[in-house]
């Protein structure tokens, strides 16, 4: 939890500086591509936690709502 708060506060601190308008001729695509590597670890860990929690729940309820097969329900 302590680690999470540290990460969150660091992200928040960085975000407080407002972005300057990007020059029109620069391609934002590579930034979006590489940004996913930065957030992948954090979000992947979240999924792992959900799976772990799902397994614990399964032991007690027999149901697993957090299967990461990818066929999730968003509706």
């Amino acid at each position: 939890m302590k680690r999470f708060v540290t990460v969150f506060l660091s992200i928040l601190a960085v975000s407080l500086i407002s972005p300057h308008p990007a020059a029109a001729y620069l391609d934002p695509g590579s930034g979006s591509f590489l940004f996913q590597f930065l957030i992948a670890g954090l979000l992947g860990a979240g999924v792992a936690l959900k799976v772990f929690w799902g397994r614990i729940k399964q032991v007690f309820t027999g149901k697993n709502d957090n299967d990461i097969s990818g066929a999730g329900e968003n509706e």
């Binding site: 969150f8 992200i11 928040l12 960085v14 975000s15 407080l16 407002s18 972005p19 300057h20 308008p21 990007a22 020059a23 620069l26 391609d27 934002p28 695509g29 590579s30 930034g31 979006s32 591509f33 590489l34 940004f35 996913q36 590597f37 930065l38 957030i39 992948a40 670890g41 954090l42 979000l43 992947g44 860990a45 979240g46 999924v47 792992a48 959900k50 990461i68 097969s69 990818g70 066929a71 999730g72 329900e73 968003n74 509706e75």
Partner: protein, 471 residues
């Protein structure tokens, strides 16, 4: 070139379908076809054989299609020709209310998750690839998929954030009218712009902090670097990709907007119509529609769709256009709740309707280009055009004659309390706004087929037929 003109032509490539080398759309004898090129053959077969196509169609997330043996538009590159179920009307993200854009965003993410579970991924997450068909958001671009590239980030991540997340966040956190930024920016709202427009408190939402604010910073940082991406040998796991989709889903799901104070929200209660007069008006509208037997109806100034419903309940494909995002939101949520499939509520300012725009002015069509409708209804509308917006009656008649083959229009006289209200803060510079002048102005473009005085109201309902038979 209008949509109707294209439909009439043979083998015309759709002007909005030119970016994708996998295939393209073309019209032939009134039907829309999609050519799949050889280079996409393997991916297309994977879509079908993996079961993803069936799964998506079963859940109303992808437009169903049939393979056909018609002559390809360009035989040298053609692998297969498919004929998708025809969508009667193409609408755009900047014409949708908050919940329509949100539902389209969630549909896109659900499709991506299902695709990943079948070894595929969306290579586009464009708002223009989703259409409301029978009031469900469906993906209309069957060629949007690619095989899931191992270890690579989601190629459509930026597009999803720009086309869906940024406008939804702006609508929710700042002002619902900011959906109009989608009209200005054809490839979605630039993230640096969204980041600067969003209030400071949006940074306390972790998904928005990540996918908009930090994402915008990352774009700026890497845009100015020139190191090739291949040098970075990092891989991204499938679990992390699912984490990104889940996080985007959480971001979109948490965004809310409720229509609170709106000048139109209680319009039906605020008019000078009694319940019985409202009922009478509805009966005349129903009679007129029965006489015309239209296939398509555009209700202009539909509010929350009370009169549009008279058409859509008769299985007529009906668009319910209104200028007020709150009225469109209420109508959309109502249609959804009641499972209505024939009415599509959309936002439109008739004094500045959607233009032809995009590449060569042809990618996205104007209101007029997507017509004409068999019937346009302009109920309790003309006084707003003529008095609130100073549009001369002759101009209103001319514009409406370009939209429809038949017109059901209500004339609201100056003695009507709603018109009196409009004139309280204006000088009455509308000496020509009276019934005889109205009839003269419309007679230039329409023939009058029927006119009825609505009992219990001072208003008259007209049924006009367009004099232009070629429309």
């Amino acid at each position: 070139m209008t949509f109707q003109a294209l439909v009439k032509m043979n083998s015309s490539a759709h002007p909005g379908s030119f970016r994708d080398p996998s295939g393209f759309l073309f019209f032939r004898e009134g039907l829309l076809y999609r050519q799949i090129n050889h280079e996409y053959s393997e991916t297309y077969e994977h879509l079908i054989e993996s079961g993803l196509y069936d799964k998506l169609v079963e859940r109303h997330l992808l437009i169903p299609h049939e393979e056909t043996s018609v002559q390809p538009a360009t035989p040298e590159t053609a692998y297969k020709i498919i004929v998708p179920e025809q969508v009667p009307y193409i609408s755009y993200g900047y014409e949708w209310c908050f919940s329509q854009l949100k539902d389209a965003a969630l549909a896109t993410l659900t499709i991506q998750k299902l695709a990943m579970s079948h070894g595929m991924s969306l290579k586009d997450a464009s708002v223009y690839n989703i259409q409301f068909h029978r009031n469900h958001p469906v993906l209309i671009d069957t060629l949007s998929f690619e095989k899931l590239p191992a270890g690579k980030p989601w190629v459509a991540y930026r597009q999803f954030c720009q086309h869906f997340l940024a406008p939804l966040a702006l609508m929710s956190y700042r002002d619902v009218r900011l959906s109009s930024l989608l009209r200005l920016y054809i490839d979605g709202v630039p993230l640096d712009l969204a980041s600067s427009l969003l209030p400071f408190r949006s940074r306390f939402s972790i998904p928005l902090l990540m996918h908009i604010h930090l994402h915008a910073k990352s774009q700026k940082r890497y845009a100015s670097r020139h190191e090739p991406l291949e040098k970075k040998q990092r891989q991204i796991s499938k679990r992390s990709l699912i984490g990104i989709i889940d996080s985007l889903t959480s971001a979109v799901s948490k965004l809310k907007w409720r229509p609170a104070d709106t000048e139109w929200g209680d319009y039906y209660n605020a008019t000078n119509y009694s319940q019985s007069a409202l009922g009478e008006k509805g009966r005349y509208v129903a009679d007129f529609l029965k006489t015309i037997e239209p296939k398509s109806v555009w209700d202009l100034g539909a509010n929350t769709g009370l009169f549009s419903r008279i058409a859509s309940d008769q299985e007529i494909s009906t668009l319910a256009y209104d200028i007020d995002p709150a009225a469109v939101e209420i109508n959309y949520l109502g249609c959804k709740e009641r499972g209505e499939q024939n009415q599509l509520p959309l936002i439109c300012d008739l004094t500045n309707p959607s233009p032809d725009q995009g590449w060569a002015h042809q990618e996205r069509e104007s209101l007029i280009s997507r017509g004409p409708a068999d019937v346009a209804m302009a109920l309790a509308l003309i006084h707003h055009l003529a008095i609130s917006n100073n549009v001369p009656l002759s101009q209103a008649a001319k514009f409406l004659s370009r939209l429809c083959r038949h017109l059901i229009i209500e004339f609201v006289p100056k003695s009507d309390s709603q018109v009196k209200k409009l004139l309280t803060t204006r000088e009455d510079v509308f000496p020509d706004y009276e019934q005889a002048a109205f009839e003269r102005a419309f007679a230039e473009y329409f023939s009058q087929e029927e006119a009825v005085q609505i009992p219990g109201a001072e208003r008259t309902l007209y049924r006009f037929a367009n004099r232009n038979q070629d429309l």
